[in-house]
């Protein structure tokens, strides 16, 4: 216990150096946060739909008179777009109950407000594609991009534009093992901080055309290796030759990871989600990083 405390303190305060013979590594959990909203299950979809319809059933009637002044073109267009329910009439039998109309709304059912279509959208179909590509036209229709990109279809795991609703993590094939990129803390830069070493190391293996943000200079976790480079699970091991690997969290903001040919230790890299990491990395390594990874 004494050993560990001294170790961490010397890095935090950068005063004493007792670490020269204790091997330390700094590892980087580089993640790309989700770009689009998360996927929801079929049950959630039905639940939200039910709640939304219920809200429309219980809500106040849409105040048409407030948004559309009487006698204007906008009011006429709006009125034409609505599907008005059948009004109640005396002496008529309605098999599904008598309509209960107020301000053109049947209060027994959910309220549906239909917005009139804009003139641009009602153009002919042949013109539609032209107006999409006409970038000078400010009034061109807004169309959402697909949530599934071409890299998803190709299953290109080196691309950052895959699995948009999920968190991607950078894994590298370092000395034959798939793991987070990890870097030795050398005696000349041992006072510069673990997060600094990890970020500098990332630039060496991945080029400097990457913009990252280190979450904190405190490590998120530590993994201990024995002299045979095997992960130690029990913490009471007092072996002097334990290698400690500190995991630093970071997010990629811009740019991309571009594997440098000059570096021999790293042969390959992948951007993966949690389940894919589980399939790829060693079981003992995954058990140490499992709780650090986002499920979404």
């Amino acid at each position: 216990m004494m050993q560990i405390r001294q170790l961490t303190r010397s890095f935090a305060t950068a005063t004493t150096t007792t670490t020269s013979n204790i091997p330390i590594k700094s590892s980087l959990i580089l993640s790309r946060t989700p770009i689009v909203t998360q996927d929801i299950s079929e049950f959630e979809k039905l639940f939200y739909n039910y709640q939304e319809e219920l809200e429309r059933r219980l809500m106040w009637t849409f105040p048409k008179w407030f948004y559309f002044k009487k006698g204007t073109v906008a009011e006429r267009e709006f009125s034409e777009a609505q599907n008005y329910p059948i009004p109640n009439a005396r002496g008529v039998w309605f098999p599904q109950g008598n309509p209960d109309l107020k301000h053109g709304r049947d209060r027994r059912f959910k309220q549906e407000v239909i917005l009139p279509k804009k003139h641009i959208e009602s153009d002919n179909n042949n013109k539609e594609e032209d107006s999409d590509n006409d970038f000078d036209n400010v009034g061109r229709p807004i169309r959402a991009n697909s949530r599934i990109t071409k890299f998803d279809k190709e299953n290109d795991q080196t691309s950052l534009e895959r699995k948009l609703p999920r968190t991607l993590y950078l894994l590298v094939n370092q000395n034959g093992n798939w793991k987070f990129p990890s870097f030795n803390v050398l005696s000349e830069n041992e006072n510069s901080g673990l997060h600094k070493i990890a970020e500098d190391g990332l630039r060496i293996i991945g080029g400097d055309k990457i913009n990252t943000w280190s979450v904190s200079n405190s490590p998120a976790a530590v993994i201990k290796y024995d002299s045979n480079n095997k992960i130690i699970h029990n913490t009471d091991n007092n072996d002097q030759l334990i290698t400690r690997e500190f995991l630093i969290k970071s997010h990629i903001i811009a740019g991309k990871f571009d594997l440098q040919k000059s570096n021999n230790s790293v042969s390959d890299f992948k951007w993966l989600v949690k389940e894919e990491i589980k399939d790829l990395v060693d079981i003992s390594y995954y058990s140490k990083i499992d709780h650090l990874l986002s499920d979404i």
């Binding site: 961490t8 946060t33 989700p34 929801i40 709640q51 939304e52 219980l58 968190t167 998120a220 997010h251």
Partner: protein
Amino acid sequence: MFQQSVRQFSSSAVAQKVGCAQVKPVHHKVRIIKKFLSPKYPELKYEPHDIRSPKYKPYLTTPDRVQDHYFNTLQSDLLLINYRHGQQPIYGNKRRQWDMTSPYHLNRPLRKPKGQIVPSPTIKPRTYENVPRLEGVTLNCFVKDAKLYPAQAISAALQLQQITGCKPKAIFAKTNVPNWKLRPGMKMGAKITLHGRDASQFISTLTEIVLPRTRDFYGISNRSGDRYGNIAFGLTAEEVKLFPEIENNQDSWPQNFGFDITLHTSAQTDADARILLSGLGFPFTGSERIPKTLLNDLVSEEEEISTTQQ
């Protein structure tokens, strides 16, 4: 155990005393809610979150992407950012004991804290249990002209309702200022406190549509805050026009009203609250002043060495 009071000669009167009258009608000490006694409107007895209650309002109508972002990314990051090794609680200024020099100190309420009236909270070490989160957003719209033109208070309430989609409450003047012709009880505007999805919807509109387009907005001032994790700033009438709900229906809004926004967080200090809010997309500007007392929360080196050697 029953103890006889010094000032009473008889002990039996106290011992036999009942909490409420025994003779009908019994005046209960516990307040009775009449709707629970009457069989007339059984649906009024349900809780408002019960779907059978007439007060029921469905609110889980869409997924909440601000909350998703918080739980997936922000929460674990905040824990790492705020965590410092060897943090210790900073004890707040609490109410003091009387020194018992006078017999009247017995059973007297505690003495005021030193140098202040309200006790200040203890700042606890940051753990996984107290990661800051956004608790709510209050919009407060006080219209100065409402004392001359009372209709403007109604119009301000309508504007808040248009922006947030929730029903605001009217606010009234509390003080009498004869020079300003202000008297207590005048309706002066509206306020609303948003929670959950409404708050998420409001802050995403604010950070993604309104604030990026406001002129000369460089960020919320770093000097803002109430010391205990609530950050406030204001929007002028010009900036309010940029809300899409107002902007797309400008003809209906001949006049707009600026309002104050308070972001309530569960952070213990303003600095922690700012880290959370910048993660939610609010920019901050200006020099930050952290009180010296908040910086002395680490164990000193000598102390730490002595504890490790023991």
